[in-house]
């Protein structure tokens, strides 16, 4: 068999011939040749299962099969399911909230379909076996398993009437395309004639470099090459403009492994076949700074000339007399803990396309922050922001790393220079090597309590390795000292966190901005303090929990504080769990069970900085009500939650709203999807916009506050029982935005700057939570199996219980990974088989308890949740490990060998 012979395939029942190299990945043929882009590619290595298809009914990874092997066999993709709309399994996914970002959904559906055909009513164990080969980073798997087990069910989510959307488990409004596989992610839109773009990246952590004869190389290969010299604007960007230091293409020196130094663009078939072995670049490797403590030493070379001691920034909070308080404390615990790089590992690697429309550069890529993308891309490319339009693709997970620019300036540069559409899809290796990580932290603390168990003082110090460039290092350094006390009353306190440059990967935002690392130290130390005092560990936390009217370590007097309610909600589970664990351990043996608890708090939105959101709602002449919702939904559910708030504020059913997505030319700025801010900040804007539009409609009809709104046949009907008025949009004049009635409202959370001691009001709203872990340690192998988690989170007001529980389960999965298995090693773990994230078989049973202690500032009392849910998991697990077997973990993750070593140490 030779190249380019037609290969006969039977895809979804239809015979076809494809003209492709026989050795081409089936996934490529399905997606690029046949346009069946429901099959997703997450790793090209069989590690994630996103590309799962059925081959003669058996599930296999399409990325690992040469198309020649599929010849004559029956291939089934997600497009085969429910062609007339969602089938029973897809309906079950919607009903259970099993799809969050949706990128793993087609793979999950195909793996589950293979199971259901042979076992129509599968057991939980069968489902876990069947789904073990598909990774999901959003859901924690619980809802996916529930959905598969409920494939025979028929119910649908609620369709609430006017005023009843908030609090209802509405199925996600953007869910159908996710389960059908028609959702268009970054790699799924390919303009005609698009050039393919690949980056040449540094193999060294630190190296000077210079190019040879680029013109000759590009002529020989028939491609175009662009380097820093081609960048028309200011070749540096950062999520925080004041710290802009990262070049889109490195200029003469690469400061980290994986840094792009050139892009190569050309016809797809040419570019994908290129090998960069002969690319004319000469590297001069330099000594790399690998350690954040050593990097601060005297005489150490600076990675950035203007940053002395390689310290990017120090964050600082001080109140009272911490050293004096520790001196006077009855019990003091001092500890150190070290955490490593953690990779976001969303299943969708960065991908997108750029093209010109007139003189406007359009970019469609996965993102968490469209307006920031626009402004930074414009800066790099030397364009006014108005000449860059970001039209976000569906985003297959983000968790913080898709806040930063990745490929936007690269494809933008190619399109600007060539005038042609340009497309780039990161490989998994590239995604892991080049994008941000969670900050590795080396933290030390001393915490003291009085004889009765009241906290009296805390001293915290942490070095956070921010890698080669600033990214969110400043945010981490500022957030950590504010939060390192945990949600407790600590009268005397001093905390400092330093973001320090090394030649490691850029560390940026990852669900919690450094707070999860700090909580690991503080919450594990609390267990030792509780033991020293002689108090039950849950009771110790309850006694010290912040209460309404008390001041935080920043001196901010708080209201709507829900931590005590969360801890109290765990009390019954804690007692029952303690009894279960004690009964199990009484039997003796190598398996020991343990129980642990930990708390969290987290301020929603930017730290003492403006972060407004603007929501627009308009009524069209045809009587449609459109919600311009610019908060990126990366799976967490903003599209649904913001609509629920807006609908209730306006007084129309949520399903009556039409959604207009984020688009920098169409939809007002809702800021970035980060810092658990969208429900609070964009939610408040939606509340105000809904109320404002309602007020306009009521004013138009001269109706009072209690009047009811309805959409009927393209008209707005307003009634108050006594009177009924009809607004006919078609008869009203159309404004410049195309609406006959429109409201646009902005909300910026009121905060107060921090002074030199970190005193002020950094956040308008905080959320709280506490989690309990029950687990089993194999004391001869050091392996840990988490059996059960109970998570009590105070959301202030629950907008959508199902989405909230999905966030909790997903956060616990990531927290479990952080605690037990996730450790990124540059150059060593740039794939999803050396870098491990939890599979369906690693997840415990999870019970969520949703607490509502209304926040005076949050929309309808609501608080943020997105990061909170991850923070307590790792410390609760570590506390349970220590409870089970005495092992105190000082370096994460708690790999089996480290746990076993800690057990031996505890025994000796």
């Amino acid at each position: 068999m030779k190249d380019e012979v037609g290969i006969p395939l039977i895809v979804n029942g239809t015979p076809c011939q494809v003209s492709a190299g026989p050795g081409r990945r089936l996934s490529q043929v399905l997606r690029e040749d046949l346009g069946l882009r429901g099959t997703k590619v997450g790793c090209d290595a069989g590690d994630c299962g996103a590309c799962s298809v059925l081959m003669d009914g058996a599930v296999t990874c399409a990325c690992l099969m040469p198309v020649a092997q599929a010849a004559g066999r029956a291939v089934e993709t997600v497009e085969a399911l429910g062609p007339g709309g969602p089938d029973a399994l897809q309906r079950a996914f919607l009903r259970h909230g099993a799809a969050q970002c949706g990128i793993c959904t087609p793979g999950m559906l195909m793996a589950a379909t293979a199971l259901i055909r042979r076992s129509p009513a599968p057991t939980r164990a069968e489902v876990e076996e069947a789904l073990g080969g598909v990774l999901c980073r959003c859901t924690g798997y619980a809802r996916i398993v529930d959905a598969v087990m409920d494939v025979a069910g028929a119910a649908s989510g609620p369709v609430p009437g006017r005023g009843a959307a908030v609090g209802a488990s509405v199925e996600r409004l953007d869910g159908v395309p996710k389960v059908l596989g028609t959702e268009r992610f970054g790699a799924d839109e390919v303009p005609e004639g698009a050039l393919l773009v690949r980056a040449v990246r540094s193999p060294h952590a630190h190296a000077g470099f210079h190019f040879g004869d680029l013109a000759a190389w590009s002529a020989r290969h028939g491609v175009e090459v662009f380097t820093a010299a081609d960048i028309p604007g200011d070749n540096r960007f950062s999520v925080i403009p004041a710290f802009a230091d990262q070049p889109a293409l490195a200029d003469g020196v690469a400061r980290m492994r994986g840094e792009a130094v050139a892009v190569v663009a050309g016809a797809p078939e040419v570019i994908e076949a290129l090998e960069f072995g002969d690319f004319p670049v000469t590297w001069e490797p330099r000594e790399a700074l690998e350690d954040a403590c050593a990097a601060q030493g005297d005489g150490v070379a600076r990675i950035h000339a203007d940053r002395a001691g390689n310290v990017l920034i120090k964050g600082h909070v001080r109140t009272g007399d911490p050293l004096g308080a520790l001196d006077g404390a009855a019990h003091v615990v001092a500890r150190e803990i070290e955490t490593g790089w953690v990779e976001h590992a969303y299943i969708e690697p960065e991908a997108g396309v750029a093209w010109m429309e007139g003189d406007v550069l359009n970019i469609r890529a996965c993102t968490q922050a469209p307006v920031m993308d626009r402004d930074d891309t414009a800066r790099v490319l030397g364009l006014p922001p108005g000449r860059v339009r970001i039209r976000p693709a569906a985003t297959g997970g983000g968790f913080g790393a898709k806040l930063d620019l990745s490929l936007q300036p690269l494809i933008g540069l190619v399109t600007l220079k060539t005038g042609r559409p340009a497309r780039m899809v990161f490989t998994r290796r590239e995604s892991m090597a080049a994008t941000t990580k969670r900050h590795p932290a080396r933290m030390r603390a001393r915490i003291g309590a009085d004889a009765g168990g009241r906290l009296c003082g805390m001293w915290f110090d942490g070095d956070f390795d921010t890698g080669a460039y600033a990214s969110w290092g400043p945010t981490v350094a500022v957030r950590v000292p504010v939060h390192a006390s945990g949600p407790y009353k600590v009268p005397h306190y001093r905390a400092e966190a330093r973001a320090v440059h090394t030649n490691g990967p850029v560390a940026g935002a990852f669900r919690g901005f450094g707070v999860p690392q700090a909580a690991i130290l503080q919450e594990t130390m609390f267990d030792e303090l509780a033991d020293a005092v002689g108090l039950d560990r849950l009771e110790f936390r309850r006694v010290n929990a912040l209460r309404d009217g008390q001041a935080s370590v920043c001196g901010q007097v708080l209201q709507g504080v829900g931590i005590a309610a969360c801890l109290e909600a765990l009390q019954e589970e804690w007692r029952a769990g303690s009894a279960r664990v004690a009964a199990f351990n009484a039997k003796g043996g190598d398996m020991r069970r343990g129980l642990g608890v930990a708390s969290c708090w987290y301020g929603c939105g930017n730290t003492a900085l403006p972060n407004p959101s603007t929501i627009r709602i308009g009524v069209t002449p045809a009587g449609a009500v459109r919600l311009h919702q610019g908060a990126m939904d990366i799976g967490q559910g903003a599209n649904t939650v913001i609509a629920q708030i807006a609908a209730d504020a306006l007084g129309l059913p949520v399903h009556a709203l039409e959604l207009v997505d984020a688009d920098t030319a169409q939809t007002p700025d809702c800021g970035k999807t980060s810092a658990s801010r969208q429900t609070v900040v964009t939610g408040n804007a939606a509340l105000r916009a809904g109320q404002a539009l309602r007020a306009r409609i009521l004013a138009l009809t001269n109706m009072g506050d209690g009047a009811r709104l309805a959409l009927e046949n393209g008209t707005l009907v307003v009634s108050d029982g006594a009177r009924r008025a009809v607004v006919e949009p078609a008869r009203l004049s159309v404004g410049p935005l195309g609406y006959v009635l429109v409201a646009e409202e902005t909300y910026d959370p009121p905060t107060q700057a921090l002074d030199e001691n970190g005193q002020g009001a950094p956040y308008a709203v905080y959320g709280y939570g506490a989690q309990m872990a029950e687990l089993e340690v194999d004391t001869r192998l050091g392996t840990v199996r988490v059996l059960r988690m109970v998570a009590a989170h105070d959301l202030g007001r629950v907008i959508n219980p199902q989405l909230a529980e999905g966030q909790i389960e997903g956060g616990i999965a990531q927290g479990l990974g952080l605690a037990l298995m996730e450790e990124y090693v540059p150059g060593r773990t740039d794939n999803l088989h050396d870098y491990l994230i939890p599979t369906v078989g690693d997840m415990p049973e999870i019970r969520s308890i949703l607490i509502e202690v209304p926040d005076p500032e949050g929309p309808m009392g609501a608080k943020g949740l997105g990061e909170h849910v991850l923070i307590p998991t790792a410390p609760a697990i570590l506390n349970a490990i220590r409870h089970a077997c005495g092992a105190r973990i000082t370096r994460l993750p708690a790999r089996p060998d480290r746990v076993l070593a800690a057990i031996r140490e505890a025994e000796s």
Partner: protein, 280 residues
Amino acid sequence: MGIYHRPCNLEDALWVLAGGGVTIAAGCTDLFAATDAPELAGPVLDITALDALRGVQATAEGWRIGAATPWAEIARAPLPGGFDMLRAAAREVGSVQIQNAATVAGNLCNASPAADGVPALLALEAEVELASVRGRRRVRLEDFLTGVRQTALAGDEMVLAVHVPRHGADGQSRFLKLGARRYMVISIAMVAVRVVLTQDRIDRAAIAVGACSPVARRLPAVEAALAGLPLARAAGAVDAAAIGAALDPITDMRAGAGYRGAAAGELVRRALREIAGGAS
């Protein structure tokens, strides 16, 4: 892109091989995982259309597993108790998706120290049948695997089958794999243990450990020490130090070397205990 051969008969395949310079492709789960390219770099010899290379059959002297038999087929095959460890290992090769594609010979030829199939095949006394236009030969699996990513395969040879002699499948067996997560995990350590009993005493034992040395190893001294012991006492009699001494583990991001050696000893004990529990 290069030439892609997918012959339907073995002779053609061997002549392609004899021409030199081709990469043999079967399940492709290692070949594709090693590249970011959308297409296998050629020239490729795809052996999945060779019917003779597929399936598990009983033969006069034991069992023959065709080289290109996917692990899923091995997991389902009706085989005697000595094969339980191999069937269990088959269910631990990557994921269900991988097991439907990845082949037994691919696992051997890839020659990873952590190849899931190797310890059980060692403990089954497996031999590898190789073919070229020059002829056929059989080598013991121990001799076939020569180092990390190294085999005794000559440039013009391919694996035709794995043979398990009748005596190799005697007795009862267990496979235990230790990794840092439940599914799709590269082993920190793994063991395959098979015992043949006379009454309740161990007549002979076959023990192999993977991921703790450049190539998975049989542990003859440990096996010999078990001979004659009552099965119920075997786990307790395992000399963990002897197991550690017989291995040559590395330290990597999955675990330290010392831990690996200790874990291997514990896994051997547990496998014996499980066999004893299952037999009672």
